[in-house]
Amino acid sequence: MKIELRNFTKRFDGQAVVDNVSLTIESGEMIALLGPSGCGKSTSLFSICGIHRMDEGQLLFGDKDVTNLPSQKRNVGVVFQNYALYPHMSIFENIAFPLVVQKADRATIRRKVADIAELVQISDLLERKPANISGGQQQRTALARALIRRPDVLLLDEPLANLDAKLRLEMRSEIRRIQSETGITAILVTHDQVEAMSICDRIALMQKGKVVQLDKPREMYANPANMFVAEFLGNPPIRFMPAELHENQMIAGGAALPRPQHLKQSNLPDKINLGIRPEHFGPQFGNEISGHILAIETQGRENLYDVALSDGGVLCSIQPANDHLNPGDTIQWGIASQHLLAFDGQGERI
């Protein structure tokens, strides 16, 4: 079902925590609410499911305005960060609870629980108590409980934050699998950009209560709207350095470079900020920039180099692993100029 937020504002003690956010989520789409801690992700999520009341704006499920409906009537499935399983009930009873509340008959409940348990692969755990299953299994139980009522929308608040690294990878693809198998519209709240990029159709990146950019992951990575977005996506993060634009060349990092093709317009400011991702800086792109290596970090398949430039700036480069270089070595590397991201003094993309 299509979900639409219109001019949504939420205030706590007069302070706007979410400020005039509009967001449309297509039916069957999985969208990520991504942003640093305290930017209002959970607040938005809780407003969509009805725990918080919206101070301004409208919320539509399909064509239906649910802004003033209580949680119970919204038909939203929520997976909480700590799963919030009912500790005194068995896994079966946990999953069945939404149906029991609806007073469904026993046979229906049994059949539906069996179906959903099979979908999330916990069929042989139904007799146990939540305390006696693993974190990943609790996660699956929480998903099953959220999905059993066939909700209009599935909300996930940092669902992977409590899992260890390996389980996180596994559950990440599980959540995506279950979401696409059920075809449910889903909103995933996370502050982990990898999580958001890897399993969501689109990302809404939030900063201080506003959505700064809403785009497909690749699109957002390649074309960030401003320096904040550019810095938030990508690991290791993008590095910035100031640059001066001249008639035909550009002074940056203590070197004179040819002015890149996409920065040829004449109405640009003289001083700009360049954003350079680690994969766009290295020996394969030329030798205009000189510097020396500050540190090398080995990541197995790749090496990460921190390079101090002659004007004092620092760039990062990622390259296939090798042992040719040592900290302190001087290098002459180049930049893939067609991938340079340029920002004005306010940090907005040029």
Binding site: I51, V78, F80, F97, Q102
Partner: protein, 278 residues
């Protein structure tokens, strides 16, 4: 450190404590022995076994005109009703204070602590007058109401502590699952505070059972007398004091307490585990 060696180190402490409590133990021992024996003055060894000290069970004694079974029944009614009243109100009020956004919440909370610390005895005259105006003087209902009211601050505070420890996400999850606030409370929250419920119930029962001042002042008559008052009346009658009879009544009075303690020992410890936070 293994438990074994820790116990070993504690041995001197245990011996010391045993020595210190020896007088109490001996007294307890003699309390039991004396109720079924007679001992000549000046000796410690009893010389005959008798059940005459338990005669209060089948006849009214010279010290008290009340029927012991009636009194025992009264005590049970008093204690059980008081305990359930306290539990019922604490369960709901504690939840309200812990979770609901009610006006003057802070005021109520600090008021609770104040009331809990308030000495009962200072209120007794006012309560006496109120009960008399209401026509509840010398009735069980009257004392039950007063005792429950006075114990409530403690009960509410304890239950609030238990509720505070229930994660609010559980309630939110329940609401999202379509349950009403009431269903959430009954089916999801209450089971989590069950240890607190049990502890509070037993605790209130025991305090009511041992309460003396309130029934003595507010319900002294034969019809509504409870065991503590029965015992106190015997004590007050200085003309014909019979220590062994009193010991028997005392033992009779304390047996239910001991049984309750033995059954609920573990649950009672809980009240301090869960109730301290908040």
């Amino acid at each position: 450190m293994p438990i074994q060696s820790r116990n070993f180190k504690a041995a001197p402490m245990i011996i010391l404590l045993s020595l210190l409590s020896l007088p109490l133990l001996i007294m307890c021992f003699y309390l039991i022995v004396d109720t079924i024996t007679n001992t000549q003055p000046g000796t410690l060894i009893p010389d005959e076994i008798t059940f005459e000290h338990w005669r209060f069970l089948w006849q009214t004694t010279e010290n008290s005109s009340a029927n012991i079974w009636r009194v025992t029944l009264n005590t049970f009614v008093f204690s059980i009703t008081t305990a359930t009243t306290i539990l019922a109100i604490s369960l709901t009020a504690g939840y309200a204070l812990s979770r609901l956004n009610i006006p003057f919440r802070r005021f109520f909370l600090s008021g609770l602590i104040m009331l809990h610390a308030f000495p009962t005895i200072t209120l007794i005259i006012a309560i006496f007058l109120i009960l008399q105006t209401l026509g509840l003087y010398d009735s069980l209902i009257g004392v039950i109401m007063v005792k429950s009211a006075l114990e409530l601050p403690f009960g509410i505070w304890i239950m609030k502590g238990f509720y505070d420890n229930v994660p609010w996400e559980i309630e939110m999850a329940g609401v999202q699952d379509g349950a009403s606030r009431f269903t959430v409370w009954r089916k999801l929250v209450l089971p989590q505070v069950q240890p607190g419920m049990m502890a509070l119930l037993v605790f209130s029962f025991l305090t009511a059972w041992s309460e003396l001042v309130l029934p003595l002042v507010l319900a002294p008559g034969n019809k509504s007398q409870v065991l503590s008052v029965y015992l106190a009346t015997m004590l007050a009658d200085e003309s014909s004091i019979d220590f062994n009879l009193m010991k028997s009544v005392g033992l009779f009075y304390v047996i239910p307490v001991i049984i309750t303690y033995m059954i609920f020992q573990r649950k009672l410890m809980n009240i301090y585990g869960g109730g301290t936070k908040g």
